[in-house]
């Protein structure tokens, strides 16, 4: 995202003289946009007023033109300094006063120029290359000794999210989590977005993707077929999950059960509790999920759809995992790295029925990515909102109902 903005201040008797109005009119007439950051109106006629205006423009040239046009009217660029940089003292350690990021678009000032921080995510640091021309977000564990890290707050600015052009549920930019809210229109808005994103994905491929991060409740609750359909129909382009979702998905294919519970029979089956272990053991014997699918052992379901549609799957392990399945990343730092690499190009994230995966994914995503968090437990979307992913739309509902309704709206035959 390229944002060209500058903050100016103007003071004096700017209200009665219409000087402020003139400056704001000039900005708009030239095709720029502005936020009035701060206006202090003089209490008496003698007392001056003061305004801080952040100006945004679609290009640097336009921004410069606007600044030139308003400068004679007294609007001058706020005095700014370059960001401060300190070398990382050791591998994996930031300098003491490192700047900790938010997930909002961020810029740092280097040699007098504002540079976008690439791959922004929350709770990491900012590294600047030695030529001081680029900046990127860097997690603590990945910093290398001697890398230049931004410290303090000077020369760093965070850009508030602009209201999206779409007038849908994300356009309100609110973090609503409620079990009482009707879900219909929210899911319809999500479906409309996904339809647009599928078109865009077909044109741009990896530059535009929809991510689903899900837990095994998708299988338990009966959302497996709907999710499989969404993947097969090219609506989902990246999958994040753990050992369980993959294991129960393939268990369903091999045994017709999910954690031993008959998915069609609707009751536990004898020795059903062994099914997922036998499934994991079988896949381990084959060597990989991909080979299990291509060899015809696994015929249907989410994993099969991902393999057939070339949808990348990142499986992150946990300490309670059985097996785990081949491909599950058990080192959580490595899992985080794999997830980080896979969120590039994500334009919509669906976090369904998984507390840990939802929060982990939410943390990795820049605030510009709309996020839907679906869980029967209201604390999950709330937790995500509390973590700062305030662009998350929370739906308190069952995973299968959500996925089925979403697939139905996207044309899945019922």
């Amino acid at each position: 995202m390229n944002i060209h903005q500058e903050t100016v201040v103007i003071d004096g008797h700017i209200i009665d003289s219409l000087l402020l109005a003139k400056v704001l009119d000039i900005i708009l007439m030239m095709g720029g946009d502005f936020d009035l950051e701060d206006v202090q109106i003089g209490k008496t006629r003698e007392e001056p007023s003061r305004a801080r205006i952040t100006i945004r423009a679609s290009s640097n040239t336009l921004l410069d033109d606007i600044l030139k046009a308003i400068q004679p009217h007294g609007a001058s660029v706020e005095r700014e300094a370059d960001c401060r940089l300190e070398a990382a003292p050791a591998d994996g350690i930031f300098p003491e006063h490192f700047y900790a990021t938010t997930h909002l678009p961020t810029q740092v000032r280097l040699n007098g120029r504002w540079i976008d921080v690439e791959h922004i995510e929350m709770d990491v640091g900012i590294a600047v290359d030695h030529e001081r021309t680029t900046a990127r977000a860097v997690p603590m564990g990945e910093v290398r000794r001697g890398e230049l890290i931004v410290t303090g707050r000077e020369g760093v600015r965070v850009i508030p999210l602009a209201r999206p052009r779409e007038r849908d549920v994300f356009g309100f930019m609110e973090s609503h989590v409620s079990a009482e809210r009707p879900h219909g229109h929210v899911i319809a808005d999500i479906a409309a977005r996904m339809r647009r994103l599928r078109e865009q994905h077909r044109r741009e491929d990896a530059a535009c993707r929809v991510l689903l991060s899900g837990g095994p409740a998708i299988i338990h609750s009966g959302g497996r077929d709907a999710l499989t359909w969404l993947i097969e129909e090219d609506f989902i382009h990246v999958l994040f999950c753990g050992n369980a979702l993959a294991a129960h998905d393939m268990e369903a294919d091999l045994y017709g059960t999910s954690l031993g519970y008959g998915l069609t029979a609707g009751r536990t089956v004898p020795h059903g509790h062994e099914h997922h272990l036998r499934t994991i053991n079988r896949i381990r014997a084959i060597g990989s999920i991909e080979r299990a699918v291509t060899s015809g052992v696994i015929k249907h379901g989410i994993m099969a759809a991902c393999v057939r549609r070339n949808v990348p799957v990142v499986m992150a392990g946990t300490i309670r995992d059985d097996g785990p399945l081949p491909g599950v990343i058990t080192d959580s730092v490595r899992a985080q790295q794999a997830m980080r690499a896979a969120v590039a190009g994500v334009k919509l994230a669906l976090l369904v029925a998984s507390t840990l995966h939802a929060v982990a994914t939410g943390n990795l995503l820049p605030a510009t990515v709309p996020t839907v968090c679906v869980d029967i437990n209201p604390s999950v979307p709330t937790k995500l909102a509390d973590r700062g992913s305030f662009q998350a739309v929370g739906l308190v509902m069952d995973a299968a109902s959500f996925l089925s309704e979403l697939a139905r709206l996207l044309g899945r035959p019922t």
């Binding site: 008797h13 009665d16 219409l18 006629r45």
Partner: protein, 267 residues
């Protein structure tokens, strides 16, 4: 008693072009200029009873006659101008010396913050107007406002022929404003209208404005202005002012007239 600072036109002439009125090939008739200046002074001294303080003219500073641009004087304090054009920047030291020699406390703006004195700062007792863009920098006004605890409403000057506020804007002692509206944009005109009632706004015609009818000096009910502005004089008579028209066309060659040739000192 009103006191005005003036400077005899001994070295007045066109030596450069820094406004659209000035043309090097339109030279001043020096004798006529001196006669015109003397007749203006006679009006001030004899007809109106003003006390004149005469500066010593300096060779090579042809525009030192335009003392309105020396700075502004408030009580015993003077803010010396910072001229935009290098041609006139050399005048600053002479004006500053005069103020210092006459016991004024001197205030100066930071270098590069242009402010051309009473040419761009005019007003009524309670609030002032500041002309900017052509010569003075709008950022000077908040500072002056702070120094003198006076509201200053900036007005953009949009025509190069009306390059100082006093070329198109003249507050009168009765609270009226003599002005040329087209010298200001919509914002400026609205700001003026917000402060001055329609009955008190005396708009001069373009013809008179181009003869610098607004470059007038108002002292009590006397208004001194250049000749050839009969419609403006008529308007002033209707308001009960006594007008004194003085031929000043030699100074118009330089873009100045009655007001530009004077600086009001404290009463």
């Amino acid at each position: 008693m009103t006191r005005l600072l003036v400077c005899p036109p001994d070295f007045f002439g066109i030596e450069y072009e820094i406004n659209p009125w000035m043309r090097l090939n339109n030279q001043v008739n020096h004798e006529r200029a001196i006669l015109q200046w003397n007749s203006l002074m006679a009006v001030f001294e004899k007809d109106i009873g003003v006390v004149l303080e005469r500066m010593t003219p300096v060779p090579g500073l042809p525009d030192l006659v335009f003392t309105a641009n020396a700075g502004i004087v408030v009580g015993r304090t003077a803010v010396v101008s910072r001229f935009r054009h290098p041609e006139r920047q050399r005048e600053e030291a002479y004006f500053e010396n005069w103020f210092r020699d006459h016991g004024y406390e001197i205030l100066t703006l930071e270098p590069g913050l242009f402010f051309e004195g009473a040419g761009d700062l005019l007003g009524f007792p309670d609030y002032w107007f500041g002309g900017y863009r052509q010569r003075s920098d709008v950022r000077a006004f908040p500072i002056l406002s702070q120094w003198f605890h006076r509201e200053i409403i900036p007005l953009e000057l949009i025509h190069s022929r009306f390059y100082h506020l006093d070329t198109c804007f003249c507050p009168l002692s009765g609270g009226e404003l003599l002005y040329f509206p087209a010298a200001f944009d919509h914002y400026g005109q609205t700001a003026i209208a917000e402060r001055i009632s329609p009955a008190n706004r005396l708009a001069v015609s373009e013809q008179d404005a181009l003869r610098f009818a607004c470059n007038a000096v108002c002292i009590g009910n006397h208004v001194v202005l250049p000749t050839g502005c009969s419609r403006t004089e008529q308007m002033l008579h209707e308001r009960g002012y006594r007008t004194h028209a003085v031929p000043l066309d030699e100074f118009m060659k330089s873009g100045g007239s009655a007001k530009c040739l004077t600086l009001r000192l404290e009463e």
